[in-house]
Amino acid sequence: MKWVREKGGAIFLLLFILCSWELLVKVNEVPGWLLPAPIAVFSEAIKVIPSFSTDIFSTIQLALLGLTIGSLVGFIIAVLLHMMPFVQKMVYPLLILSQNIPIIVLAPLLIIWFGFGLMPKLIIIGLVCFFPIVVAALDGFKNTASELKYYMEMAGASKSQLFWKLELPHSLPSLFSGLKISATYSVMGAVISEWLGAKQGIGVFMTLSQSSFRTDRVFVAIFTIMLLSILIFGLLRMVERIVIKGKMER
């Protein structure tokens, strides 16, 4: 019941958008190869689901694995940089640089080094996911309430105690905010990573459909990507609520 009340609005809005879309397509007689109507997409979805589900499953695996690795790496980097302000000054600009290596350039190098296996894909997803977490975590650590930090230092807390007992719990909301951004990108990251050499996955399905002008199937792929992102995002929200539960002030 509570769920309906909370999510009802979003679902209603979504339905509204889908309906307007359907209507627009029908009224303007937009050809299906240009922009298929939602109903056509859904009926196509039902048709292809049996063969498509292995693609979906493989992409989910990829996205979750990549997100996990990316978040962990991001978190660890953030902690290290936070603990060593000098290193932070040195490395932070490089992290920004890392976000500006176009995938099309990285792809051949990764393939040469790691082949077409799992590794280069995880690296691409990880590269997409780790950055928002680093930025958010660092900002979270830095903006700890000063009087609490003061107190901890007075009490003789070591740097690591300061971190575990104060900065980490205090930065949880910020961390989750970064994590949610990353999660949003993770599925798309997985799909992009599949474009550099995969045998199955949503990305493969999408290019296949694209090159044979099956725009309806392309949209099936897009809807799936969106659904998956929302699911991962929702999962993280749940984890966030459980972790920050009861920590009332925040």
Binding site: W33, A107, P108, I112, F116, G197, K199, S212
Partner: protein, 305 residues
């Protein structure tokens, strides 16, 4: 040319890839004023990740570079694309592999890995070639290698890929990399399709046939220029796109010069049998899911008499 430019009809042509020697005729026609003489002001645009087809079909661009296999599939999905000239008369593409992979016939595909860009045609062609040689197409691995180029792909995991000889093959020559090349035309007449072709959409043909005619005429002059003087044509392309590698362009241009028109009566001509046989083959391979009408897919009527 500036003062009478408002009398010129503005048209846009979208390429199928980054500019290369397949497109030389267009650049020549633009630079030599052939288009202008026909009353056209032509804008040459590089495609997005998606290629030109949808843009041309929707009328956002008047003309585009496409291929017979695309147009065939597009027509079946009721996309109103029409081929108006074959840029290269015979299919110059094929499966390339470094010599040390020892791939000399489709039979050798067994146990190998193919790196493709993600089209259902690839699988169909590979398995039909292998069938001709009684090889088991289940023993072939197909990887969607996306953005990676041939040379990168074959460094790792991938054994062979599908290339245009005029560009990637020539680059391999330049690099001194020995490759084995299996041309599609060596194995099946049916696979000698037109690639690439000039395309436009049905609407423009109906509403503005003169523009189409003018465009094809100028393009045809451009390609004839390239056939006759490949050195000068290469200069023109390089001047327009200075980023391109000079050696590659010159060598590729020379290789292509005799192949634009080849054995046809005139540049750009297309035969209905080629369209029909290719479509039949695609239907056999279960790549086409629908009816295909060759007569609607192409036309020779705009070629200069």
């Amino acid at each position: 040319s500036k003062e009478n430019s408002d009398e010129l009809t503005k048209v846009t042509v979208v390429l199928d890839w980054t500019p290369n020697t397949n497109h030389t005729g267009l650049y020549v026609a633009k630079e030599q004023g052939f288009f202008e003489k026909q009353g056209l002001d032509v804008d040459i645009i590089q495609p997005g990740e998606t290629g030109a087809d949808q843009l041309v079909a929707s009328g956002k661009a008047e003309f585009g570079i496409s291929t017979q296999e695309s147009i065939t599939q597009a027509r079946v999905q009721e996309v109103p694309l029409v081929s108006i000239a074959a840029i290269i008369q015979h299919n110059t593409s094929g499966f390339a592999s470094p010599v040390d992979k020892n791939i000399k016939s489709p039979k050798d595909f067994e146990g190998k890995t193919y790196g493709g860009w993600g089209s259902p045609i690839e699988k169909a062609i590979l398995s039909s070639l292998m069938k001709i040689e009684n090889a088991d197409s289940n023993k072939l691995d197909i990887i969607n290698a996306g953005d990676a180029d041939f040379f990168t792909m074959v460094k790792k995991d991938v054994d062979f890929a599908w290339i245009y000889y005029a560009w990637t093959g020539v680059e391999a020559e330049l690099r001194g990399e020995k490759i084995n090349m299996l041309y599609l035309t060596d194995y099946s007449e049916k696979l000698d399709n037109y690639t690439p072709v000039l395309a436009t959409n049905e609407k423009l043909i109906k509403s503005n046939p003169d523009t189409v005619k003018a465009f094809v005429k100028a393009a045809s002059q451009g390609y004839e220029f390239a056939i006759n003087d490949s050195e000068k044509a290469a200069d023109i392309l390089l001047k327009a796109e200075p980023v391109l590698d000079e050696e590659l362009v010159r060598k590729s241009q020379k290789w292509l010069a005799s192949r634009y028109q080849d054995d046809a009566k005139q540049w750009g001509e297309q035969k209905v049998e080629v369209w029909e046989e290719y479509a039949n083959w695609m239907t056999e391979q279960e790549v086409l899911e629908g009816k295909f009408d060759a007569k609607k897919a192409f036309t020779n009527e705009f070629l200069p008499q």
